[in-house]
């Protein structure tokens, strides 16, 4: 079951979250993790890759299905979560914490939702 999305994050309609910062952090929401089921494989961009807001930058694969990772931001990938690549279960267990996916030096953002807006979307 999904809880309320953390109020200090921003979100995409594709169920990614974005924590502003230098660098910023990107992950998927618990709504996304729950819908996918047990995640078994993450394909993430490489450190140094330029990524664009709204573009597909990776894949998240579970036993049951596969989902694309859309970047909430434009910028340069400065870190990927190797621990999550090695054990993707951490994304199910702690999607807003230890299950983060990317750290990005941000040059711009796409259209982002507040926690309130995202909660309303996810409840539909």
């Amino acid at each position: 079951m999904s809880g309320q999305p953390p109020a200090d994050l921003q979100y995409t309609v594709e169920h990614e979250w974005y924590a502003a910062g230098a660098p910023a952090t990107v992950g998927i929401t618990d709504v996304a993790a729950d819908a996918l089921g047990d995640i078994v494989y993450l394909e993430l961009p490489a450190v140094g890759d330029e990524i664009a807001a709204g573009a597909v930058v990776g894949e998240i694969e579970s036993t049951k299905s596969v989902s694309e990772l859309f970047s909430p931001v434009s910028g340069t990938v400065v870190a990927v979560n190797q621990a999550a690549i090695d054990d993707p279960a951490v994304v199910n267990g702690d999607p807003y914490g230890a299950g983060w996916l990317l750290k990005v030096d941000v040059t711009g953002t796409g259209q982002l939702l507040s926690a309130e807006e995202y909660a309303a979307l996810a409840a539909r």
Binding site: H15, L36, E43, S62, T63
Partner: protein
């Protein structure tokens, strides 16, 4: 990514149990059924190592009764159903006149003149309609018991111990049909009593493990579900959803209607020609026979094979299978195998690339991922 639920979907008699257990519910073939309770991999593993409890109340049950029941089923289905002994079960199919598969079925013979047909939920109404149309000239009564009947399954190596330990579930030689529980063979069934009333127990399933399926009236399902869960907990029984059921059957190489089987597929295409009995003494011209005879004698255009991925990205339903730059087939089911730790899939491919060990590729969302052909099933339980 998020599936919508719809109030028009039929709820299982166990719906409130699933919600109380925290299940993620999913629409499936017109029903709202549990997809998973917590972790689908944990549920899958529990079935392989201990046991899982499944609600399969969405499956269709059709009762066939009357003096011509056996002859009718020989005519309507592709197997020699009249040859099934009482209290035994048989995997079979109902085909159209052109040999295409309408559904795959398990038929339980409950008495000389009494059968229960278990159909897939998505096809239950179609199968019932087809059977009714095929009754002309036979003295037989059909009854669609699907909505009045609940089905729960206990699957896994601890299943027999769990049923023996279940409070209220007892043997009764007066109604059993001749078999003791401990002597019940694979693809056989017996009647037991649960809280005094008869239930049907089959040693059948769709997971590749030992296990049992239990049918009873829908209004008694909650009591049985709770009794099984309580009895099973010391043995490691967990409730398991449709996600685990699908990955379990895939590892076991079992076909799923809509994926490996459909109206454009004959039993021979699916590698299941063994279910077709072309020469049935009492039924020289069963429905689909002429087309199936021709198909049995023809060279196959395609072959159902197992493939194992050599990268991490899994082939999925509908993805093209490649040999070099040529498309040589289509994936019918695929997933990362929880038991084997690698992606596995079933696919229809042209016969020239169907040999075990053939290196192929699957177009996984634009990138060719290497795979090789392996024998089915991917997983066989230790005996």
């Amino acid at each position: 990514m998020i599936q919508e639920t719809n109030v028009s979907e039929t709820r299982s008699p166990l719906h409130d149990e699933h919600v109380a257990l925290g299940a993620t519910m999913t629409p499936f073939a017109g029903w709202l059924m549990p997809l998973r309770y917590s972790s689908d991999i944990a549920e899958h593993t529990a079935v392989r190592t201990a046991a899982g409890l499944f609600d399969l109340s969405h499956m269709g049950e059709i009762a066939v009764h009357g003096p011509d029941a056996a002859a009718f089923l020989d005519h309507a289905l592709v197997g020699a159903i009249s040859q099934v002994a009482p209290m035994r079960a048989k995997y079979t199919m109902i085909c159209a006149a052109d040999g295409g598969i309408i559904d795959d079925l398990v038929v339980y013979r409950l008495a000389d003149d009494d059968y229960m047909i278990v159909a897939n939920a998505s096809n239950a109404a179609t199968v019932y309609g087809e059977l009714v149309e095929r009754t002309a000239g036979f003295s037989v009564d059909l009854r669609d018991d699907s909505s009045a009947t609940a089905l729960v399954a206990v699957q896994g190596p601890r299943a027999a111990e769990i049923l023996r330990a279940t409070a209220g579930l007892v043997e009764d030689a007066q109604i059993s049909g001749g078999t003791a529980f401990d002597a019940l063979r694979y693809y056989a069934c017996l009647r037991m009593r649960f809280e005094g009333q008869p239930v049907l127990v089959g040693r059948t399933g769709y997971t590749g493990e030992d296990g049992y399926e239990i049918w009873l009236e829908a209004d008694r399902a909650v009591a049985l579900w709770r009794a099984l869960l309580a009895a099973g907990q010391p043995f490691g029984l967990v409730p398991a959803g449709l996600a685990a059921r699908d990955s379990l059957r895939l590892e076991a190489g079992m076909p799923l209607y809509g994926n490996e089987l459909d109206r454009t597929t004959t039993p021979y295409d699916a590698g299941l020609g063994r279910v077709v009995v072309l020469d049935k003494p009492g039924s020289p011209d069963f429905v689909g026979r002429a087309a199936l005879v021709a198909r049995a004698e023809a060279e196959p255009h395609r072959v159902l094979v197992g493939i194992v991925g050599e990268s991490r990205r899994a082939a999925r339903h509908g993805y093209p299978v490649l040999s070099g730059a040529d498309v040589v087939g289509t994936v019918t089911s695929g997933a990362p195998s929880p038991t084997l730790g690698v992606p596995v899939a079933m696919a229809y491919v042209t016969p020239d690339v169907a040999a075990e060990g053939t290196p192929l590729a699957v177009d996984v969302r634009g990138r060719a991922e290497p795979v090789r052909v392996v024998p089915l099933p991917f997983y066989r339980r230790p005996r």
